[in-house]
């Protein structure tokens, strides 16, 4: 799966958790926090992505990411490591 495809999945998960956000307004450089996601929302987005991608990744892997790009990168690595 390409990073572009994973970014699409992340966007879907963001909109599920933050319904006020327009999917087309989400940029890969955005931080979830700046989109209005609180700490629990951010974990919900991450777990939503893992579920959509059928991945099981320890949450610690997402500890140091600062924006959606970071999330996409980790998910991409895990997808391709399967």
């Amino acid at each position: 799966m390409s990073k572009e495809e994973i970014f699409e999945i992340v966007k879907n998960c963001v909109v599920d958790i933050l319904p006020d956000i327009n999917e087309n307004d989400i940029k890969i450089t955005d931080a979830l926090k700046d989109l209005g996601a609180n700490s629990i929302d951010r974990m919900d987005v991450t777990i939503g992505c893992m579920k959509a991608l059928k991945l099981k990744v320890p949450m610690i892997r997402f500890g140091n990411i600062s924006n959606i790009q970071g999330l996409v990168d980790v998910l991409y690595e895990e997808c391709n490591a399967k």
Partner: protein, 431 residues
């Protein structure tokens, strides 16, 4: 200590009200349903292939979920509206009901207009095990893949998430907690708030009787323990809840939530606010019994304690909003308790049960019925005991048909819960 000087000194008033029940999204609609004796009980469909015995209930349903009731707050207080919008983005049914009733009560009291020290405002949420349905709904997917469980669940299964949500919504920074007393939780929350205000620990307390969002498992357990109606009147659901009628056969599950703003008289005077009623007193006691059966002596004691606390005598009580859940043993016991306590004075009293209209809203019942009592006293009517055809006791002075132009100054409202928890409160209208 400072507050000990003020013990029992502060008079408590009710300065705001908010409510949702099946078919009613606010106090005005609730008032209409009381006046019209309109039951919110209907046939309900659960996705259980008909295996469970739960066929009727008073659920909030689409009328509440599809309501644009919330939108009016944008014109009242934009920052309150925006906080509420953020919170409502991701709330359970029970939390949404708490937010909606708290918004109504808070704005009704006009509290958004005042700069009140947030540390002098508290929150008490009545109810425990409020989100059983969320656990139930998540069970299968959790067993399949535990790691995909939503992290939100860690907050949502705590009843105190209601406290957190309301404190964020209303920017309240005094005390906050939830109290559990089964079906008496609402009255218990009111009584605890009254004590907090009397002690001078807060000026204002937001009291919520929260919606018990039960799953089919809890409802079936009520059926199996013999507490739930729905057998004789399965095809006529609006007739199934019949407190104090010979054909009563159990309670009907109702979804609902109520919020009262309790305030010291001094606080409401300071801000030149108005109020609906005074909370004169309350009483609570236990039966020393963990089972579901009620106890006449415990019920008498709770009512007596409330009367003593309010510094009244039994002759002052003209209207009684009974617990009256429509369960056979519960109704009979309460009837006997009221007859014994009030004796000859009973002839002058009017008694009804709001549960015929709302179903049994469990944790929320006490707050919803306090609101019903205030509405009736202030609007000078007493609502009908709907479905009452053959009273279990002709001497028990149940209202037959709506009574208009009544002059009731003081109301008593009972709530009794499983595990022998008895509560009663006394409210006085404000004119």
């Amino acid at each position: 200590m400072y507050y000990m000087k003020n013990v029992m000194q502060n008079k408590i008033v009710i300065s705001g009200m908010g409510v949702v029940t099946a078919g009613c999204n606010n106090v005005a609609e609730f008032k209409d349903s009381l006046k019209n004796g309109k039951s919110g009980i209907k046939k309900v469909m659960y996705a259980d292939d008909g295996k469970c015995d739960i066929k009727i209930g008073a659920l909030l349903g689409e009328y509440f979920l599809g309501s644009d009731e919330f939108e009016k707050y944008i014109d009242i207080d934009a920052s309150l509206y925006s906080r509420a919008k953020k919170i409502l983005r991701n709330t359970s049914l029970s939390e949404k009901a708490s937010v909606m009733t708290a918004l109504e009560a808070w704005c009704d009291a006009g509290l958004y207009k005042f700069d009140i020290d947030p540390e002098l405002i508290s929150i008490i949420v009545g109810g425990s095990n409020l989100t059983k349905k969320i656990s139930f709904d998540n069970h299968d997917s959790f067993m399949a893949e535990p790691c995909y469980l939503s992290p939100q669940y860690a907050m949502k299964f705590f009843d105190t998430n209601h406290v957190g949500i309301l404190s964020e919504l209303l920017q309240i920074k005094g005390e906050g907690f939830s109290v559990g007393g089964a079906s008496a939780s609402g009255n218990m929350a009111i009584i605890e708030a009254m004590r907090l205000l009397r002690y001078g620990l807060s000026d204002i307390c937001v009291v919520v009787g929260a919606l018990s969002d039960l799953s089919l498992m809890e409802l079936q357990s009520f059926m199996n323990i013999g507490a739930l109606a729905g057998k004789k009147f399965a095809d006529r659901p609006e007739e199934a809840c019949r407190p104090f009628d010979e054909q009563h056969e159990g309670f009907v599950y109702g979804q609902g939530c109520g919020c009262l703003i309790l305030e010291t008289e001094e606080s409401v005077e300071r801000r030149q606010g108005s109020f609906y009623a005074k909370l004169l007193g309350g009483g609570m006691c236990l039966d020393g019994n963990h089972l579901t059966n009620p106890n006449k002596d415990g019920e008498i004691k709770a009512m007596k304690k409330a009367i003593d606390d309010a510094k009244l005598s039994i002759e002052d009580i003209l209207y009684l909003n009974a617990h009256g859940s429509s369960s056979s043993l519960g109704d009979n016991t309460e009837c006997e308790a009221i007859k014994e306590l009030f004796g000859e004075h009973l002839k002058r009293m009017m008694i009804n049960s709001t549960k015929g209209i709302t179903g049994h809203c469990l944790s929320a019942a006490g707050v919803i019925e306090a609101i019903a009592s205030i509405i009736q006293m202030n609007d000078r009517f007493i609502h009908d005991n709907i479905n009452l055809e053959n009273p279990i006791d002709e001497k028990f002075t149940l209202v037959r048909g709506k009574r208009d132009n009544v002059d009731v100054k003081i109301a008593m409202s009972n709530s009794f819960g499983f595990s022998g928890i008895n509560t009663s409160i006394i409210i006085e209208r404000n004119f």
